[in-house]
């Protein structure tokens, strides 16, 4: 009954939020500084649930922050630095205006500088946290490192980004952790697995820049400032885990061989070392000179039963992975000058291949085009004049496709002047029943170890194969439902056969127990029973799911049929053309 009347907007969500301008005033910073601070500290605007309440009755669109976040910002030592910087700029401007050059010098010497180390430690309390968030920083660093030095951003920033990205690439090479590469129309996507974390990043193609006008460069530069610091610390730690020297040093043996006489032509003395590092052609020096990369063997523990099987499987996987990690080993590549050098060198070296290029193309080439031991020569032009007989001349896509397939693909489809097979995205993972392009099917078959077909009868076989595929797909529709029944029928048949056998007793033979088969049967039986035992509602759901799956299959089949029709049409066209010729 009694008590004071409550006033509006004095509690609840109205007091939990603060508008951007108020927050700015509370911190007494300019808008640009406030923005920078928020980016660096990782404090983002928040959309309130009830805007009108928060906005005290007004519905004007505003940017809101949580008040607690802003209170937290008040403790940040960088805020003081920002204010100092503001004063520094004012003083400097004044000194310039008065043409006091001595004063300008003195001020510049004492320019206030802030550090981001503590912020990184605060935002990423552990190293793994930082590693999880390194995607963004990698993309940004690689992007900024490709900028021209035109004043869109600070030249020093570009240099730092370049340094960090080269360090990262060198780490990936020496840890052999690259997994996927995808050449898209935007740029090149890479995926690596570092200390159990999947890390994806994108690198733009070289010389691809026209600076877009609708991007706020100041915001991007702030993000980059933070990300470079983060990436630097992450790099340091990663180098430590591999026992590599940081900042990276080229391996001693490699250095001697990397001394062509015209090095001075390529880069200044001061820059040549970093350039050589960025050439990615030599391995890095280690803290402890290790005896030829010792392979870490898994520890063996005596385990019984199921665990043993699991262990075996895992061991096998492990070994396969190790094998995959260096499937380019022993191959010697030579890059022609028209192919993207850095990307190819990076990918090839990641999988243990040796790579070189023309001396005049870039620093750090290790052997010449005339070297007899070169196995693969990567060319991206329709024809080449002088060809060596003991090496393959292939297009660059072969390297990327092989990396994605994790095997050495047959080179025939990638020869000079041949129309390339499509470059499939390794980031797509088909679920059961999805449409899988025939190229991928072929690839999977190759991975399973089926032998690749020869080129002559490829066409025919391909057709057959496709037909088979189609049949299979058609069947698969019914298979799902028929499978169970069929299995059951088989089992029953067997049983009945057993009954009708003659009574004669024969010496017992150890029946080759098909364990796998039995297990399968058992599973099918279980499934059937489970279906029978379902409640009505669950049964309904189950039917629905099955129907969805079948529909997927049907659609995939349709696509496959379409593809076949398309291929047939194109083939006929070709034949006609041939005949005409």
């Amino acid at each position: 009954m009694g008590g004071l009347q409550k006033k509006k907007y004095e509690s609840g969500s109205a007091t939990n939020y603060i508008t951007r301008n108020k927050a700015r005033k509370k911190l007494s910073l300019s808008l640009a500084d406030f923005r920078r601070l928020c980016i660096l500290k990782g404090i983002y605007p928040h959309e309130p649930k009830h805007k009108k309440k928060v906005n005290k009755g007004s519905t004007a669109p505003r940017t809101f922050y949580l008040l607690k976040d802003i209170r937290f910002l008040l403790h940040e030592p960088i805020v003081g630095k920002f204010r100092e910087y503001k004063i520094f700029v004012r003083k400097l401007r004044k000194a310039y205006g008065k043409a006091e050059w001595g004063g300008v010098e003195r001020l510049k010497e004492n320019k206030p500088v802030y550090k981001l180390d503590h912020i990184i430690k605060e935002r990423y309390p552990t190293f793994i946290d930082a590693l999880r968030d390194v995607d963004d920083s990698l993309s940004m660093c690689f992007l900024f490192s490709t900028f021209a030095r035109t004043g869109k951003c600070h030249v020093q920033t570009i240099q730092l980004c370049r340094r960090l990205s080269v360090e990262w690439m060198n780490y990936i090479i020496s840890s052999r952790s690259l997994r996927k590469v995808f050449l898209s129309i935007k740029g090149i996507y890479y995926q690596a697995e570092v200390l159990g974390q999947t890390i994806t990043w994108i690198i733009p193609y070289q010389f691809a820049h026209d600076h877009p006008t609708d991007v706020d460069y100041r915001v991007m530069a702030t993000f980059t400032e933070f990300y470079t610091t983060l990436l630097g610390f992450v790099n340091f730690r990663l180098y430590q885990t591999l026992n590599l020297v940081y900042p990276p040093k080229l391996d001693g043996q490699g250095e001697i061989s990397l001394k062509p006489e015209f090095e001075e032509d390529y880069a200044l003395e001061s820059e040549s070392y970093t350039e050589k590092l960025s050439a990615l052609s030599a391995s890095l020096a280690r803290m402890v000179p290790s005896a030829e990369e010792e392979e870490t063997e898994l520890d063996h523990f005596p385990i019984e039963g199921e665990d043993l099987e699991k262990m075996e499987v895992r061991e096998k996987m492990e070994q396969e992975q190790i094998k995959q990690k260096k499937f380019f080993e022993g191959l010697k590549f030579f890059l022609n000058r028209e192919v993207p050098r850095e990307s190819l060198a990076f990918v090839i070296r990641c999988f243990g291949g040796e790579v070189s290029w023309d001396k005049s193309l870039c620093i750090g080439s290790t052997y010449d085009a005339t070297d007899e031991t070169i196995t693969h020569h990567i060319v991206d032009r329709p024809s080449i004049d002088k060809q060596y007989i003991n090496r393959y001349y292939i297009q660059p896509q072969w390297v990327y496709d092989s990396v994605n397939a994790k095997i050495l693909l047959p080179v025939e489809e990638y020869f000079l002047g041949v129309t390339l097979p499509p470059h499939l995205s390794p980031f797509v993972e088909e679920t059961e029943g999805d449409y899988v392009p025939p190229e991928k099917l072929k690839l999977m078959a190759l991975q399973r170890g089926e032998k690749p077909q020869t080129e002559e009868d490829e066409e025919e076989e391909e057709e057959e194969e496709e037909e088979e595929d189609d049949e299979e797909d058609d069947q698969s529709e019914e298979e799902d439902e028929a499978e169970d029944e069929a299995n059951l029928a088989e089992m029953e048949e067997k049983r009945s056969r057993g009954k009708s056998l003659s009574v004669k007793v024969t010496p017992g033979k150890a029946k080759a127990e098909n364990r796998k088969r039995a297990a399968e049967e058992e599973k099918a039986e279980e499934k059937r029973l489970a279906i029978m035992m379902m409640k009505k509602r669950e049964k309904y759901l189950y039917d629905k799911i099955m129907f969805g799956k079948k529909r997927n299959v049907r659609e995939a089949n349709k696509l496959a049929a379409k593809r076949k029709a398309h291929d047939d049409a194109s083939k006929e066209d070709k034949k006609k053309k041939k005949k005409k010729c």
């Binding site: 980016i39 983002y44 605007p45 928040h46 959309e47 505003r62 940017t63 937290f72 940040e76 500088v113 550090k115 981001l116 180390d117 503590h118 430690k121 605060e122 935002r123 552990t126 946290d129 930082a130 995607d135 963004d136 993309s139 940004m140 600070h154 020093q156 730092l160 995808f182 050449l183 898209s184 129309i185 935007k186 740029g187 996507y189 990043w201 691809a208 026209d210 600076h211 877009p212 609708d214 991007v215 706020d216 915001v219 991007m220 993000f223 470079t228 610390f233 340091f236 940081y246 192919v339 991206d380 032009r381 297009q395 660059p396 129309t419 390339l420 499509p422 470059h423 499939l424 995205s425």
Partner: protein, 489 residues
Amino acid sequence: MAAARKHKRMAASQPGFLSFNSGLDGNSSDIKRRKRVNKNKKKNWNKYSDIQDVEEFLDDVRLQEKAAGGLIAEKPDASLFFVDTGEKNKETQPRKIKKVLSLYSLLCHCFFFPAQSITVLFFSLLETTVKKGKRSKPLRIDLILQPDSRIPAPKNVLAFQQPNAKKQRRMAEKAARLAAMGVLPRREKLLQLRRAAAASGLPVKETPVANNNPARAFYDLWSAGTPETADPYYLEQTKKKLVKRPDRLNEKPSVLPAIEVVGPGGSYNPDFFSHQDLLREAHEVEVKKLKAEERLARQLAVKEDIATEESSFKEQVEGLIEEGDVEPEEPEGGSEDTVIGPTATQEKKTEKQRRKEKAQRIKELRRKAERQMIDKQQQLFQLRSIRANLKTQEQRTKQRQAQRKANQEAQKSMPRRLGRLKFQAPDLDVQLSHELAGSLRGLKPEGSILKDRFMSLQKRNLIEPRERAKFKRKYKVKYTEKRAFREIV
């Protein structure tokens, strides 16, 4: 003569040369700014070349020759100095043996040079030597000017006082005491520290490196440092320890991944069907946009026909021209049905009426209660349907809950409204079939990664959507033709 002069110069340039004149030390303090004059005229040579220092030097040499019969620097010490035992004039001379530069004193007397660097001592001797000299007897004029009063002038106390003398003395005493104890003043200490640092070769202050310095060093940030032992409250208050970051801030504002990989259709050499898929997607987006545009145009279109000449004319002559005898019939039925307001002057109810009404009311209530009773009893037989009802209701709420939850989940990956502008998804990067390059060499990259990154930041709610600030001119630009230009054109 020339040779002699040269010799003198040589002597003067040597380090041992002593000059009489203090101004000859070379670094005379009053270096004026040189006047810039043309030296191509002989007149100016004499006028503006500054030969004063040379003149002074030569004067000095001449003086030395005159007075001492040669340059002093070349004379042996024995000819210049003697040991003054100080016995002759007892009242002024102290007992000590002193080196007195007798020649010097003489010269000083003659020319009255300002005090030289050598001697304070010399001045104390000056008076005695004056007496000894040729003109030791004072001039009469000087004597007249001497005060002859018998009463001594009062001492000017202030002249002997030093301001703050007591304080300074005390401070000096304290400093001496501290020095005896080995405590140096702060200034000395700092000086020594600086000297030690310079000697050891280390930079005194580590100049902080800018964040974007390409040569900056990194270290192991996550190594376990020494654990803090001090009171955390104390550390926080003295700003030695930062405030703990709330865990809430480590959550990301969106569940979207940092890098969204384009679909398989975005490959530089895509599979036919995935490329078609991508094209279809892009097409759908375009169609949607087009539809929205059309709708807007439709909504903004002027709905009625625009007046033409003909129609406006028709309007003007409307009613003037007789068109047959078709007259609209007015509906007449409506006019009768006028509403009459309540003409209520209600009469008072009689007692009987009231009683009746009350009885009615009670009866009604009873009837209702009975009805309820019956209904309740009947519900016993409707149990099944009620249960079914309840079930459906429950199901509906559950469904709604699930829906709401799903919506919330979906919201997490959606860009929020964070400011004045809404997030607008950028156009899909697509290359048409004829734009696709067959080889990596011929590939023309589509779209900009920089923009892509920027949009991704917006999409993940890390920054509010922004647009480029529009250029707004404060004043109108006024164009004028220059006269010279106008004449030509």
